[in-house]
Symmetry: C2
């Protein structure tokens, strides 16, 4: 079976003579229903999730289905002590990060600090049962917290009406979860793909700056701070309240910020020392709490968290708002935070799955994250997802399965039950420093530079997201960047490339004249390649552009004393689809070229295009055997002999 290349080359020479030409055949017939089925499958089930069920006995199918919906059943039975040892180390490590971050992020969302701990208890348990990633560390994250807080704050004040604010936060979480789970169930996961890398890099950098600016409140000890998020109002609020700056707070904040940033730097340099940055936040909390307690610093201008209630998550399903005037707000907040947190969770899951070489099913993950938030919303949790920084620590600490999430959850539970009084004297300034350290990592300058180098348009998208977030608002910055990204796609479709092909001397290969300098035009032929599906949005453009190629050639020809065009060859290899408007392009082109004495020749229309051209009325005109070829080479060979025949009979 092994092909012998030299012999196949040889046979090629023997079999192909210029007169033997391969026919373009219509694709095998399939009914509309079959085509629809294939199309729907490719659109919504590209990963073919039912593949593994095929040909299995019913009994086995049930087990597979249960394992499909509850991945814990898949890895659970093989779980052993060795895995557990790894998981307990990583679980405790991320718990030490989750507790201070949970409290900090809850404050970022203008929620009571304890809600951040609640949110680090229930969701990880749910995810451990439903999720398929082995590295994801679940809990509150900075950007979703920021957006949730800022969107609800637009209509309700967290200081004047804290109960309503909390209710709306839980309701938004419910809708975020509902939305996430629906995307997964309806297999519309590709919606999050519309957040391109450039958009996300710009957005996250902007959000990091916004979040850091918000921390100036606790880092400087300002009591009267703006409720707005933008760069300008925050900075003006900071510098109009210089009399409120507290030197004790600033000193403490500065020291802990330096400690945390140095710890982060050490871990970045040597990934083996991951525990340095993982342990630093908890250590800072403990240290600062002791300091405050020892020096009674709360009486010297350093604000502290204050009394926190002991006990596990109280139920909150009775706090969900499904009616009334705030329904629109919570649905919108749920939608935005849902998409953002989903994007982060899926991206993190995929990154680590690729590192360890296992599969993460995007749609299934969406259902897992969605259910986690729905359940969370009725147990006093706000929006959670897989956090990038904590998942990285989890991975570095050697997490093997989702059991590390369970360990973390148990640790948080112990904290909630017994350790809450210890946080009473924890200063807010340390929480601010922890947040700043965490979000600094969101500013990814090397990738931004890489984007600048590869694609300038993408870099513009990045800048729009960045400046939109900083100067307008988090949601609008994101919306602008997504809009520009989609506009670029539409522009590519509306203005597809047409490329002029030349023959590479001594071969049968035709390539872009402007790319391959050795390629030369074949006299009498204008060979164009259309590089996009032809549809209503680009038909007019394509017609005008192709006719301009013809005109330009005719103009140049007089200068260079070339022979005039006899044939316009359109290479359709790259035209992957066509619609009814697109079909009429060939009718129009045929007419326009005939008026100039040029014959239109089509090369290699692919299945769908061939089929639709055949069904059009103009088929008889366009799909004549002497103007339809399988390759450009064959078309040129066959037609030049005709041309020669004609010119010799004329002469």
């Amino acid at each position: 079976m092994e092909p012998n290349p030299s012999s196949s080359m040889h046979s090629y020479c023997l079999e192909i003579s210029p007169m033997e030409v391969h026919k373009v055949v219509p694709p095998p017939h399939r009914s509309t229903l079959q085509k629809l089925k294939t199309r729907l499958k490719e659109t919504f089930f590209p990963d073919d999730p039912l593949r593994q069920f095929k040909g299995q006995p019913l009994n086995k199918q049930w087990i597979l289905a249960a394992q499909y919906f509850f991945p814990i059943l898949q890895w659970g039975p093989n779980y052993n002590l060795k895995l557990f040892k790894s998981d307990i180390v990583s679980g405790l490590t991320i718990a030490s990060l989750a507790i201070p971050q949970g409290i900090s992020y809850a404050k970022l969302a203008s929620l009571p600090p304890i809600v951040g701990l609640y949110s680090s208890f229930v969701p990880p348990l749910v995810y451990a049962v439903l999720g398929s990633s082995r590295d994801l560390a679940v809990g509150p994250v900075s950007i979703a917290s920021l957006i949730l807080g800022s969107m609800i704050r637009q209509e309700v004040s967290p200081t004047h009406d804290p109960l309503l604010f909390l209710q709306l936060a839980f309701s938004s979480t419910f809708f975020a979860g509902l939305f996430q789970a629906s995307l997964g169930l309806l297999r519309l996961g590709f919606i999050i793909d519309f957040l391109s890398e450039a958009t996300l890099i710009g957005f996250m950098a902007g959000a990091a700056i916004i979040v850091s600016l918000q921390q100036l409140k606790s880092l400087l000890g300002i009591t009267h701070f703006t409720t707005q998020m933008g760069l300008v109002p925050v900075l003006s609020s900071v510098f109009h309240n210089t009399h409120e700056w507290s030197w004790q707070t600033i000193l403490m904040g500065f020291c802990f910020l330096v400690i945390l940033l140095v710890a982060r730097h050490i871990s970045m340099r040597k990934p083996k020392l991951f525990w340095v940055s993982a342990g630093a936040p908890l250590l800072s909390v403990i240290l600062s709490t002791i300091l405050v307690f020892a020096f009674k610093a709360q009486h010297h201008g350093i604000s502290v968290i204050g009394k926190l209630q002991e006990g596990l998550n109280p139920p909150s399903w009775n706090m969900l708002h499904f009616h009334g005037s705030y329904l629109g707000l919570v649905m919108k907040t749920g939608l935005v935070t849902g998409i953002i947190s989903l994007t982060e969770g899926i991206a993190v899951g995929r990154t680590f799955a690729a590192l360890k070489n296992y599969q993460v099913d995007g749609n299934k993950e969406m259902i897992a994250i969605g259910l986690m938030n729905i359940i969370g919303s009725s147990t006093s949790c706000y929006v959670t997802t897989g956090a990038f920084s904590r998942s990285a620590v989890n991975h570095n600490a050697g997490a093997k399965t989702a059991v590390s999430n369970i360990i973390m959850s148990v640790t948080v539970m112990v904290t909630l039950l017994f350790l809450m009084p210890l946080f009473q004297y924890t200063p807010n300034v340390v929480l601010g420093a922890i947040i700043v350290t965490a979000v600094v990592g969101l500013i990814d300058i090397p990738t931004a530079y890489q984007i600048w180098r590869i694609d300038k348009y993408d870099f513009i998208v990045l800048l729009c997201a960045f400046f939109g977030v900083i100067f307008i608002s988090v949601q609008e910055g994101l919306a602008i960047a997504v809009g520009i990204s989609i506009f670029k796609i539409l522009l590519q479709v509306t203005r597809p490339k047409t490329v002029i092909l030349g023959s590479i001397p001594g071969t049968d290969i035709y390539r872009n004249l402007h790319h391959y300098k050795e390629a030369v035009m074949v006299p009498g032929f204008l060979i164009l390649s259309i590089e996009a599906p032809i549809n209503f949005a680009n038909k007019t453009y394509l017609k005008e552009r192709i006719m301009r190629w013809v005109e330009e050639y005719e103009t140049q020809k007089d200068e260079k004393q070339q022979s005039s065009i006899h044939f316009l060859i359109l290479d359709l290899s790259a035209v992957s689809g066509i619609d009814t408007t697109g079909v009429s392009l060939f009718k129009d082109l045929k007419k326009a070229t005939e008026n100039r004495g040029v014959e239109l020749v089509l090369v290699n229309p692919v299945g769908e295009v061939m089929e639709k051209l055949q069904r059009a009325d103009a088929a008889n005109d366009i799909l004549k055997p002497d103007t339809l070829f399988l390759t450009v080479g064959e078309a040129v060979a066959a037609l030049s002999s005709t041309m020669k025949g004609q010119s010799s009979s004329h002469g």
Copy 2:
């Protein structure tokens, strides 16, 4: 220079040995600025309007520029008596159509009938100077009238506040013109391309039915008629007011409707008898007016137009509303009617230009139509454009230049100055019959059937537009259809085709295995062709789909006892572009395939793709010379020899 195909074939055999392989070279270097310039030119100036100016003396350039902006200077100097004879016939013919249609369409827009005549006087003169189509007959059209009327009626009643209604109509016309001219000046004409053929066919059929239903008011003589447009409210209004039906009106309406439809039918059958349908409306108006006058039918339940003011267009710039609470309404109305009437005008212009084989510059036409409406709005005209039915008559009557528009305009002027009293007794029922006859032509069932045959998805778009217009509203029906069309494009981008290629035996040609039944797979190779630009919206899908191809092949291989894959060849010929996210696809794929012991090979990346891959960090990994080839054939030939070498050294 004439290539001898057989000798070139021969030389191909001699020169290509399996070891000699053509290199993929990076495209010639161009700076970012050069690339930006090319890109902008291709996007906004695909027709290269400045081409004709190149290399001309300054003096000549001025003349060309004047001719460019005022096409009348181009054809005017060569105008002669012979052309004038043709134009006077066609001008008078379209005038006989324009006068009754003008009055009717103004009523359709709930405007005073005389505004329809004003609108047939000034705009044709403006167009004659600025427009580049020789066949376009300019004036009010049914669909734009319908939309204008229905949109303004949503907020202002034409019976309770006729002056405000008129002011808003003129202001909307101003914004429509401003919008149209801006599209042309900013060279954003491609926006109207987003109205696909399917959308327009469905939309126009729906609008024709809505317009005809509105005529039931005058055809049945109902006085209390609904102000809504939908199918359901109109029919319920008709059958709840059966007591208002007037048999005299119904009889008269029925007779004239039959006459007009028969006349239309005759002209459709024999295009030479175009004057039958062209003259019928005016004849019906004259005949019915005489009948009413003779029988004093206005006292027997037949409603008549009533007294019309004599004289030319009064100025109306003082009636334009640029402030206050209705600004949003008039801008929205201007936008929608502007786009719709522009689409009709451009499409009509292009159709007849193609018939007579001359060029119509879309962007220039937009400026002409836009200025015509801006000037019209300050001379008591409402939205006008090139009307399809009248332009067809114009063309059939032998119009040679825009002078026929001037003749029509002069005829309308004479009517306005001297003949207005004659219309006093014209019955409304005849105007209704004229409108119905005119819009019947908008229902294009053969094209709809053709769309059904060629593309089922397009047919769904058509149905959405049709039912949306009939049951929801004219604007929303249109918006839904455009939305679905764009969604289809985005879906194509998100779910691009990947095709598995096989070699056609005895040749170097590789084609889709599922299309060409004779194509066979090459053992040890999986050859895939990606048929779309790779970007953020499809990278994840492509990665999953390609890995599924690999897995499927491995599964099948065991069944068919084929050899396993050694090389995954990706043919990138059809990948016309790539972005930063897309570049990472190859990095991910390389990793995923390496884990399976498969080597990733790229074939023929085109200029832009090659360039961006080179700039990416992973370039050294991906663009190795032994995994990058110019054609699939060469890749297979070169790699099979490696494979053989390996297996023989192993054995």
